[in-house]
Homo-oligomer: 562 residues x 2
């Protein structure tokens, strides 16, 4: 037993309990202020973090883990289009698995409180170093500075703590022991029973390129808290955020008296991908996967006998049936379509509008006019680089440009280009890989274009025969293509109720009639359940009991007592 | 909403809450007395139940469910070796799935309380009719009268209620709604969020022949309580217990205002098995499987995208290292090896003894002598049919006799036959298919004989080089072959601790130094976790949160409120 770990639990117990309460109440809660200037380290923390990031550029990343076979790393900043110039140790997978298994017994033997103490300390340490991590996210994923700090920093940490609160609850559900007594005939049998929580084994955590920490932190922490070592497999184009996280995990684990090899980094390259090897490795007991629908569905089908928790594509839909004021709706949609150039799993893509238009307080706006207004609103953001930059940020991958251009050609042939995508000049990073959203106007029936996720700033305004068709088509997209979020605007309560029922059946999380400064697709830790598992968007929810309860198993022993 | 169902919840609320408390405390608890003469219906209930069973023999089973294509049924009583003469409707699977899907929305739309009320009423009704069910179990599975009543009756119902308590807890973890409020810039966003529990879809419950209700009740009730329809697929040789249960479920569901098609019976025959069709059916969302290791491992590997909860083989081991008094240990082992002719997933099979013998208060008994004493104790049970009958009961399947005889030949060649298996004459049913246990003495190294489950009254006394080898080999059997239970006798505390650790790692539930009237392999609802998922014996535990938490999913909607 590690007394250091026990002390850590006491240090963080109040925060963990508050998080657990928040999970039950599901109101607003956070352990970390979202604004960088409220960081507990003040301006010095920001300076130190940015300095640490800058001093890492062009140098080898120090990570003292076993199994290094060579070094790799070819990250390019979406903002500068220059290589980060960082090389990382590429490790032999078998060596990482063996090291993880060696490290496991002591970690498995620790109490849940000890493990939770260490995990909360990891979160705390990650928060200390959030500015460095944010810079790493910005220059690999292409997020804006603010999103890198909030979405990929504080929000991601909160989602991690949320997972810890659930893991705690699931483990608390099993008492350490019981006294059981009953009569058999004339004899009383009295047994002391001891219940032990046993981790599954090595967890492999696949991390996506555009939003690495937000899914990885909950997965890593849920596995760790329940006793499982974690091998982290980042996307080859976005290694640094996870390399930093792994290094911090290893540091805290070591300080608490456990083996740092409970968390390791496993890298691959485009030429030599290792994903399938990791999934099918005989020592893999848990797979957490965030990434493409194509590989994700392979992982889901092939992970057995390992558990699989996945999040893949998001074909997210909007239905605009009727509104009170049109302008705030247009503005919210334009902003959310532009946010991080729609490279979020929650970004809307397909906007359904009835052919006969949208009722609003001032009358009725036709479907075409609606499309034009939305395009105009996007254009007004795009026209002002100082406004565009913090919203649209940069494109993570170079292939997204080609996808946009290809869709523009097809869209022009099959429908109309409502807003053409073009680079905008980022005020601070003039070479940044930027693109304003492509907005296409189509008739329902071009589902081959919009029926799957088109990853990046590509939106469709789809005209349907009527409002019922709009809802039906949108819900069908979510069910078939995998919707994570959905958005509905209607002043007709009965229609809204039908929408709630339709999207619930389709397994997409619905936001109704929201306007204002909150991004429509904002998902709050402790409150918003993320991914339902009822459609192809993934099988795991952040966070419910099912996300944690099977990461450990229960063994027992019993013996007579006097 | 069904007011009938709400009334049912109130009727059973106290019992359900008491069960939930028992699950947390894990002490002794039951809702149903184990002894038939304490049934609330008194002697009349027994008479009526047995009369109902007898009047069913030789007649068509009435089950008003859709999709009947023909009738089937060729059950034979292991006690009389005569056909039961009951034919059942064989249904078209697609029709059952369609009927289940049709029935689902109203059931999914009911509140968890309403569903739990109905499920508890089903349990209550099954208890009312327990004597009929027990007779059905006796004359299909071959259990003794008492085991049919207690193990397959009251204990099975308690395991069902236990599953309901967990399902309740998992559903209660999700609040119906929340108010979420935070500032974005200078604006306060206030959202009302509604969370909805959504069932997975149609559950298919595969039921084994020897202990049908004990696994089926928890699986059926866990699925039903969380909103999923259930298609029950019994073993072709043991249909009646499940046909009765399905009929009762349908009756209670209908009375409560729901579609009876939420629970249906899907039969097949040996000539036209339908198992794989059901597992791969596009509408199958959940598979609960109890049965053979061979088909079970196929189900586990092929159920995706359906969830799979399995219990398959049990290679259960015993290590006898040192004892205080030898005689009670021998007696307990002999009885448990004989109990229901070891046709329980918890029955011991491989008994490891160090070559240099077993220390006891009176000295030391050699491995050979231990085997002889154990054989003698079995023989003394076998020699007295009045004693043998309630313990050994009958063999469920005719193929078990051939398996015993084959193993006897091999055992004689590779080692020694310590106790030869032979029929015993059942005092009430002279034609009963009975066999006393075969006990073979072997050296470690004949793992091809004992390394897998030999289903039926077949035990092995295996001599190892020493006590450490005994523990290592036994735990290895459990890990490789799939151990559910394990038994250890040692007066050496340090050795016991090593045993606890070894079996915990092997994923088998350990009972230490137990003697006396309680069958060693008795597993108590609300207290004993059954199957760990850490070895091939199955992946699901009766009952933990993981058994219930993923049977439903969570959708949400949110909208601004003033």
């Amino acid at each position: 037993m590690s007394s250091a770990a026990s002390v850590l639990f006491e240090k963080h117990e109040a925060a963990l309990l508050a998080a657990a309460t928040a999970c039950r109440v599901r109101g607003y809660f956070t352990l970390f202020p979202e604004t960088p200037d409220r960081h507990r380290g003040g301006a010095a923390a920001k300076e130190a973090g940015l300095a640490a990031f800058r001093s890492q550029l062009g140098r080898s990343f120090e990570l003292d883990q076993p199994g290094a076979i060579d070094r790799c790393g070819s990250e390019i900043s979406p903002y500068t289009l220059e290589p980060l110039g960082i090389d990382y140790p590429r490790a032999d997978a078998d060596t990482l698995f063996a090291a993880a298994r060696d490290a496991m017994p002591a970690w498995a033997g620790a109490t849940p409180r000890e493990r939770l103490g260490v995990c909360m300390e990891i979160v705390d340490r990650l928060y200390d170093r959030i500015f460095e991590s944010a810079a790493a996210v910005m220059h690999t994923a292409g997020q804006s500075e603010l999103m890198s700090y909030a979405g990929s920093g504080t929000n991601a940490l909160d989602r991690g703590v949320e997972a810890l609160a659930y893991a705690h609850a699931a483990m608390l559900d099993v008492p350490p022991e019981a006294l059981w007594e009953r009569r058999f005939g004339s004899t009383t049998i009295r047994l002391r029973k001891r219940y032990q929580l046993v981790p599954r084994g090595v967890a492999v955590c696949f991390v996506c390129a555009t939003f690495p920490t937000w899914n990885a932190y909950p997965a890593m922490l849920a596995s760790l808290a329940t006793g499982n070592p974690v091998i982290v497999k980042p996307h080859p184009t976005a290694i640094l955020p996870m390399a930093l996280a792994v290094r911090t995990c290893r540091e805290v684990l070591g300080e608490a008296g456990f083996s740092p090899n409970l968390v390791t980094l496993c890298l691959d390259t485009f030429d030599a991908p290792i994903g399938k090897v990791l999934v099918k490795h005989p020592q893999t007991a848990i797979v957490d996967f965030t990434g493409s629908a194509r590989f994700g569905s392979w992982v889901e089908a092939n992970a057995h006998p390992a558990l699989c928790f996945s999040e893949t594509s998001g074909v997210n839909t909007v239905v605009v049936e009727s509104v009170d004021q049109l302008e705030p709706v247009i503005k919210s949609l334009a902003t959310t379509l532009s946010l991080f150039s729609a490279q979020m799993c929650t970004s809307p893509q397909n906007i359904y509008v009835p052919r006969d238009g949208i009722r609003h307080a001032g009358g009725r706006v036709g479907a075409d006019e609606f499309g034009a207004l939305l395009a105009q609103s996007i254009a007004s953001i795009a026209a002002d680089p100082k406004r565009a930059a913090p919203i649209m940020a940069a494109l993570q991958g170079a292939s997204t440009e080609a996808l946009i251009d290809g869709m523009a050609v097809q869209g022009a042939r099959r429908g109309r280009v409502l807003h053409a995508s073009a680079p905008y000049v980022h005020p601070e990073y003039p070479r940044a890989r930027t693109r304003t959203p492509l907005l296409l106007g189509l008739d329902a029936g071009a589902r081959d274009l919009y029926g799957e996720e088109r990853f990046g700033p590509i939106g469709f305004v789809i005209t349907t025969t009527g409002r019922d068709a709009a809802l039906a088509e949108a819900a069908a997209d979510a069910k078939a293509g995998g919707g994570i979020t959905a958005f509905l605007y209607s002043t007709d309560e009965a229609y809204v109720d039908r929408g709630i029922a339709a999207y619930s059946a389709a397994g997409a999380q619905l936001t109704c009639n929201l306007t204002g400064p909150m991004p429509l697709n904002f998902a709050a830790a402790y409150s918003d359940y993320h991914v339902t598992g009822l459609n192809p968007a993934g099988n795991a929810t952040l966070t419910d009991l099912a996300f944690v309860a099977s990461r450990f198993r229960i063994t027992q022993s019993r013996a007579p007592v006097a």
